[in-house]
Each structure stands twice: as C-alpha cells, then as structure tokens.
Symmetry: C2
Subunit: 511 residues, 2 copies
C-alpha cells in the first residue's frame, strides 16, 4: 500500500462505503421479504425497495464521483498507488461509467416492466400459457436490448449479449463461452451415454422415504457444523431459514442462508444447504481489510457458483462425505433410514438421468440445461430467433440434448425466473462455475493430496482453509479469466471438470 493515499482517492472510497452500506440494508429487507414478512406487507416492501434502489442509483451516478476520478487520475501521487488501490479505481470507474450511461428513464421503465413481467410469468406458468407471457417478455427483452446496446459501447463488448454477460462474468465473451461449451457438451454427453449404457442403476426410492422436518432440521445443524457455518454460538452465529427457493445473502459479518424441507425429499434440504453454504463461505471469508471497497467483493457469479457447487457436489456428493454423514443420518432419523447402505446411498444421490427441470438435474446433465439456455439467449440477441420461437427451439433442444419431450411450457421455457426477471447473460455462470470448480479441484489436489480422508471424519477445515486462501481472499482483485489463471496456472479449460466427472461416474456406473 502507498503509505498515504491522497484525499480524492479517500473520498471515492468513502462514497463506495455509503453505496455498499445502502445495498447491504436493501439485502436485509429482501431477506426479510422472503423469510419473515407477513405476505400482506408486500406493497409497502416494494415501495421501500424501490426507494432504496433509487437512492442507490443516485449515489452511484453522483457527478462528484466523476470529478474525483479525474482528480485522482491527474494526481502526482497516482502512479504510487498500489495494485489494490488501482483495482479499486478501475472498478469504481467501470461501475460509474456504466451507471451514468444508462438513462434514468430506461432504468425506471425496466424496473417497472420487470415487476410486470415476473407477475405475468407466475400466472402464465401456472396456466401453462406461453402466449400470455410472450408480450410482456417481449417488452422486457426489448428494454434489456436497449440497455445492452448502450453498455456494449462503454464496455467495448463485441455484441449486446456480450455486454450483458460482462455484468455477471467480467471479461467473458459469448465467443469464448460458445467454444468452451462445445467441449463441455461433448464431454457431458459422453459421460451421460456411458452411464445410460451401464447395467448398474441406483435405486433412488431411498430418497423418497419420509423423514420428518424436525429430523431434517437436526441434520441441517450437523451440516452447518461440518462446513463451519456456526449456528450455535451467540456471538458469531449465522442464520438458516426456510424458503421455497434457497438463497444466500448478506455482507461480511452478517451472511445468511436459507434452505427448504420436504418430508419425502430429505436429501434436497441437505444439498441445498451445502450449496448455499458454499456461497456463504465465500462471502464470509472475503478479506476483512477490504470491507466496503470494490475489491472486497466476490469476483463473479461464475466464481460464486464454483464455490457453491464445489461444496455441494465435489464434497457433498463424495463417498467420503457420506462415510461421515450417513451414520449420523441413520442415528438421527432412526427407522426410515436404518437399513440404508453406503454404496446404495452414494449411487442414489449421484444418479445420472436426463430430465426436464434444471434445478433438479444431476451433475452430468446440469450443464446441458445451461448450454441450451445460453444458445437461446445468444441467438435471441443476435436476432436469429424471436421471443415467439423460444418454446419451439427450447423443446427441440431438449429433445436433441437430453432426449426428453417437454409437454408444456411451464416445464419448458417458462421453468426459470431469470428471463422474466431480466437476467439475460446470467445462465452461463452456472456452467462456468462447474468448469471453474474442476480447475480449482485440480489445483487443490496438487497442494492437498490428502483432502478426502479428513472429510470422511467430518473434518472440512483443510479444504475450507485452502478455498479461503486460494479463492475467497482474492476478493475482486482480478477479473475471472485472470483469477482462474492465478489459481490453476491455466486459462479456462473444461478438461479438469470432465476428468473429475469421468473418474467419479466410471466408478459409480462401472465403465
């Protein structure tokens, strides 16, 4: 660090601190809305959130930020700023330029249309009626396209869609993704075919045995303890609450996760908790010294997803994890699970089976769901297909990639909330997360040869510390392509992930 940073730089950081503080307050209001709020509070809550978002936008586009950035650039001490300080300035400038380029009217209109489109989506999905959804989706898509075209210039992206991808995965492009997803698809289909051809198939009926919610809540505590998400201590305890769609939110010392509990799908709570736990560990272990600075954020949605899927799948669906957890599960659940054998159970939670619903997909087919969405988004923004054609192309893709027939659009093109919420360019992050997690695993296996054995004893500390040191503590110091190179020594590559899948599933399916 430069011993003494100068006043305009400090003023910029103070402004960032205010913006982050406001956003963290809005995050708690969002969390409350999903977990605690009486349903009829929704009208007032919408007003509160819209107001905080307006105030936040105003703070983010305060012309004083522009002036301070200029002043800082011209300052004689500028060249003596250290890389962390320079990264902060880069991120502040990027965010400011983007935010100020978007006309306020467009921002307001988009946020209004989003609310309408989500509402219509819910109704249309329930009614299995895409034509009802279509006009509102078209309006939102066209607003998002306008924003994408504006951002494309600021971000110097090759296409509008690239500009949207950059929001979630900086410096990633649709071309790079297309290439890497082509390889990914090949690899996934190859593993899938081998699993399908195997004679060995799991009995997944174990997973539908009735396990009372109270039992599942006890299991949840064991898992929280395993990952080091301390729920007991009054001083540092993290929250675990219940929502239909599990999520992680919060900032530094107040990160919160949710999960869901279904009596006849007890494993669902376990994997949701591990998944959100992975996200939470990332957020909780960002560098404390960087709190409130742009560099103190997580790197990208893809990296975030790499952490959740690492903990959920690479750890949580491993043999070693179940050596540890199954006896506890048997003990706590008693009769419903007393006759379950380790090998049967591990295979059951790792069943590979093409399906129609992304969020229920296994590790092997999950990527295929994501690739389909990426292709559709890319072609939609390139004008190769229209909103009108989405259902047809969707259904054809599912037949081609997964061999399944989509019977109605509620289990097809309308299954996810992302497009109704205006989150175009977000989907690739899910598959990129898997790819990153493979590269992270490959590096970890070099440094921590014996990482599996302690897991079977319930000891996750080594792995966690490794992730903290090698992933979390970098915060947002690098863009994803640089970070993955720093971690793995290599550019983005699907090979480690595919190798991991091949090794794991060849054992499970005997190929």
């Amino acid at each position: 660090m430069a011993k003494q940073s100068f006043s305009s730089y400090k003023k910029l950081l103070a402004k960032m601190k205010n913006i982050v503080t406001l956003q963290s307050a809005a995050a708690i209001l969002h969390w409350d809305m999903e977990t605690m709020m009486p349903p009829r509070g929704i009208k007032l809550r919408s007003l509160q959130l819209a107001m905080l978002s307006r105030i936040g936008h105003k703070m983010s586009t305060d012309p004083e930020i522009g002036r301070l950035l200029e002043e800082t650039n011209k300052h004689p001490e500028y060249s003596r700023l250290n890389p962390v300080q320079k990264r902060n300035l880069y991120l502040i400038k990027k965010h400011y330029n983007e935010q100020t380029k978007l006309p306020e009217e467009l921002v307001a209109e988009t946020s209004k249309q989003q609310a309408i489109t989500i509402d219509t989506w819910k109704k249309a999905k329930a009614a299995k009626n895409f034509p009802k959804f279509k006009p509102e989706l078209e309006k939102l898509f066209s607003l998002k396209r306008k924003a994408a075209e504006i951002l494309m210039e600021v971000k110097e992206s090759a296409t509008p869609y690239d500009a949207l991808i950059d929001i979630f995965e900086p410096k990633m492009t649709s071309e790079k993704i297309s290439n890497v997803f082509k390889e990914l698809k090949q690899g996934l289909v190859s593993v899938l075919r081998k699993c399908e051809a195997s004679q060995k198939h799991p009995d997944t009926s174990i997973l539908n045995r009735r396990v009372p919610i109270e039992t599942q809540q006890k299991i949840a505590k064991v898992i929280a303890e395993f990952i080091g998400y301390d729920t007991e201590s009054k001083k540092s305890g993290g929250r675990i609450d219940e929502t239909e769609h599990p999520f992680t939110t919060g900032y530094y010392d107040d990160v919160r996760i949710t999960t869901h509990f279904y009596e006849n799908k007890f494993a669902s709570a376990i994997f949701s908790l591990l998944h959100e736990g992975g996200h939470a560990l990332y957020e909780q272990n960002l560098k404390p010294e960087w709190i409130f600075q742009p560099v103190g954020d997580a790197c990208s949605m893809g990296l975030h997803e790499s952490q959740s899927r690492f903990v959920e799948n690479i750890v949580g669906r491993s043999r070693e994890f179940w050596i540890y957890l199954l006896p506890k599960l048997r003990k706590i659940a008693g009769k419903p699970l007393s006759d379950v054998h380790l090998d049967d159970f591990i295979h059951a939670v790792n069943q590979v089976m093409p399906s129609k619903i992304r969020v229920e997909a296994d590790e092997v087919t999950y990527g295929l769901h994501v690739i389909i969405r990426f292709n559709l988004e890319r072609d939609l923004f390139a004008g190769k297909i229209t909103v009108d054609e989405l259902p047809q192309v969707w259904n054809e893709s599912y037949r081609e990639y997964l061999g399944v027939d989509v019977e109605d659009d509620s289990e097809g093109v309308m299954q996810d909330t992302h497009w109704a919420s205006g989150l175009y360019g977000y989907f690739p992050s899910y598959a990129l997360g898997n790819i990153y997690s493979g590269q992270i695993l490959a590096t970890m296996e070099n440094g921590l040869q014996d990482w599996r054995d302690p897991i079977s004893k319930g000891d996750f500390r080594n792995v966690k510390q490794w992730l903290v040191k090698n992933v979390h503590r970098h915060g947002n110091l690098y863009d994803p392509p640089d970070l993955i190179k720093i971690i793995n020594g290599k550019e983005l590559s699907v090979d480690p992930y595919l190798n991991y899948l091949h090794e794991k599933y060849s054992k499970l399916y005997d190929f």
Copy 2:
C-alpha cells in the same frame, strides 16, 4: 375533501410518502436487529441505520418542502382545503420547522453521544457504578438541553423541558402534568394504603410455577387469537417474536410484536403480549386511506400507551378475561396449573405491592414510578438538581413515594434505558396513558354497557371495534388534548382512572 387538491399540496404529500417509506424500512432493520440478526452483525447494522437516519434527516429538511409550504399557503384554493388536508399541512409545517432549526452538527453529535451513553449505561448498570455513567449522561443531557432550547422557540414552549414533552405528547405542558400528577399521586397512594391495610393478600407463588416455554407459546397463540392479531393466516398473519424487552413496530399492513418467555414467570409473557397487542391494534387500525400522510399516524405516545394498557390491564387483568383464559391455561399447561382457582389467580395477577422496578410494577404503584421520573426530569431541566444529584434524589423519592430502599443504582436511577437514550420528556406518556385509558373506559361503558360479558366468552370484537372507531381511526387528526375531549367529552382528568382502580381493588382487597 376538496375535489381536486392542487399541485403544491400533492407534491408535499409525495415528499411525506417518501419520508414515511424510508422510516418504515429503518423500522424493519431495527426489528431485525432485535430479533434475527447474528450479534456480530451489529457494526454493519449501526452503519445502515445511521445512513438511513442521515438520508431521512436530509429528506425532512429539504428546502423544497419550505417552498412548497409557502406556495400552498398563498394558493387561491388554500381556503377550500378540508380539515384533514389542513391538519396535514399543519403537521408537515411543524415537523419541517423543527427539523430545520436543529443544526445538523448538533443532530449528528447527539446521535453519536447517544450510542456512547447507551454503551456506558449498560456497562455501568452491570457494574452498579453510577459515577462511571455520570460523565456520559452529563454530555448527552447538555446536548439535549441545547436542542430543547432551540425547539422551545419553534414550539413556543414555556420551558426547554416543555419542548421535549411536546415531541411525545403534543400540546402537553409540564405545568398541566404537574397538576394532574399531583391528583394522580394522591389517588394512587390512597388506593395503595387501603390495599396495604387489607387483611386479604394474594398468594402469588402460583405465578412462579414452572410452565414450559412451548406451553407458553401455545398460550400466546390463544391470546393473539383473542385480540384478533391473526398469526395463522398466510395472507394477513402478524408476527410474534421473542426479545428480552417486548416491543411493537411496523407500519399499517406489516405491524409486528415481540414478547418474552420465562419458565418460572409464565404470566409475564401473557401480559407483555396483551400490552404489545394493544399497541399493534392501534397501528393496524389507523385509517387505511390516510396511509403515508402525517394525519395517518397515531396521535401521541400517551394515547399509544392508553391502548396498550387498556388491553393489558383493563381487559387482560379483568375477572372476565380470566373466566375465559384460565380454563384454557389449565388445559394447555396441565399439571402445573390444574389446581389453580379463578379467584386466587385473579388476585395474584392483580397484587398491589410497592417495588423498586418500574416495568414490574402493578397497576396502582406504576404511576408513582412515573411521577418520580417526571419530577426528576422537570427539576433537572429547571436547574434545580444536577445529574450528580440524581441517585440521591431518586432514592429519597422511592422511600417517600413507595416506602422502598434502593440498595444500588442499577435497581435505582440506572434501571431504565430512556435517559441513556436521550429520551427526556417521554416518561410522562406512561402515566398519561393510564389516565387516558380511564377516560376512554368511562366513555365506552356508556356506549357499550355489556362489554364485559362477551370477554368472558373470549369475544373481544365489540371492544376492539369500539376502540377502532373511537380512538384508532382518528389517527393524528387532533392533538391529544383535543382528541381526549372528542372521545370523553371532557378535558384530561384523573377521576375516571382513579374510580376504575378504586372499584376494582376494593373488590379484590375488600375495602
């Protein structure tokens, strides 16, 4: 209503809506801090709340409000505004004038000093060490005095202390309070002496029988149902959460209450719930059409307290309420309470007994605790006593009024959070609430002769509807002295409350 209100008036209301929306968001963050937040989240939360309070102050002192007020006053349509609209303008102007007169520095310094004084109070209270608390209390008191002197001019109050009282109880003065508290003291002491002289005393050991928390939570639901605070329905359900110090917060459709549960003090949860329920009913039943308008608020802290104490004491400690609740309590709690008789129980929850702690005081002695605090505040602001002398004067007053010896300052002058929080002028509201509740009861008994009988059958609807119509729906249309006259036809008067106490306790204590 004027058919068409004009633009400057509408703009003012829009500004008020923003301020209220922001305040309601801050209220949820406060609630979360007390109920849900992991303790280590406190640092971030303090920043969030300080930021929202800064933004709120800025919105409240926006010079545009001043300009719009002037424009509205001069508008040719001004005289055609209806009383509700004129009241809105009056309240907007009052609030704006007061807020703008307080220098921002003083506001900021006070809020900083408050945090320090509260923190010191907690430590000093635990250490039973007033001298530790004293210097920080002096600093806060002197800042509050400065604010009071400024507000005194704007509010045209006779003394600085009067200006502070006016914040919580508009148009109330220390002179009026002194007079009415003199009568109140006489009346309370007279009832107290008669109770003390009686041969009949309750056995309160029943109240210390161990009732498991789970049982108490079931009872809490019965009480919530009784007052019509719906906790079950997904659509309109209100929350009941647990905090050491019960409170009510929220706005219109999202009002929330808390209570506490102690195994060996089960009645405490019941009366806390009834008390907070009384507050909640008031907030939930403000006029829906007036949401976001100044006139849509509750009238004053005293009126608020009248509602909580009406439900807690006049209803909740009545014979009829226990005719209804005791069988349920026996049924739900089983053995610990199976041999409890109605008469014994009613007397136990209405025991009159001088004590040192205000929040544990009975209906008769409660007012004496409040009067002591009022006298001390008044004399402090008049310069008749110093902060240094507070413990001595406190202890002398307790000996004189209640005949109890205060052994250390943690159960004496340091027992309440109010002075450490800068809430001078708040205490009188508690006793005024009792006085108002007596006048409200007197009017209700004229209109609803048969209000007691349905209560014994668990039917609170008539009473509730009466309170909604005669108290809640007036919102903040009148200042307290006018409202109580509208309700009761008379000025503030202690007689109805003293009559109520006399009638009730003469039966319980046979005098």
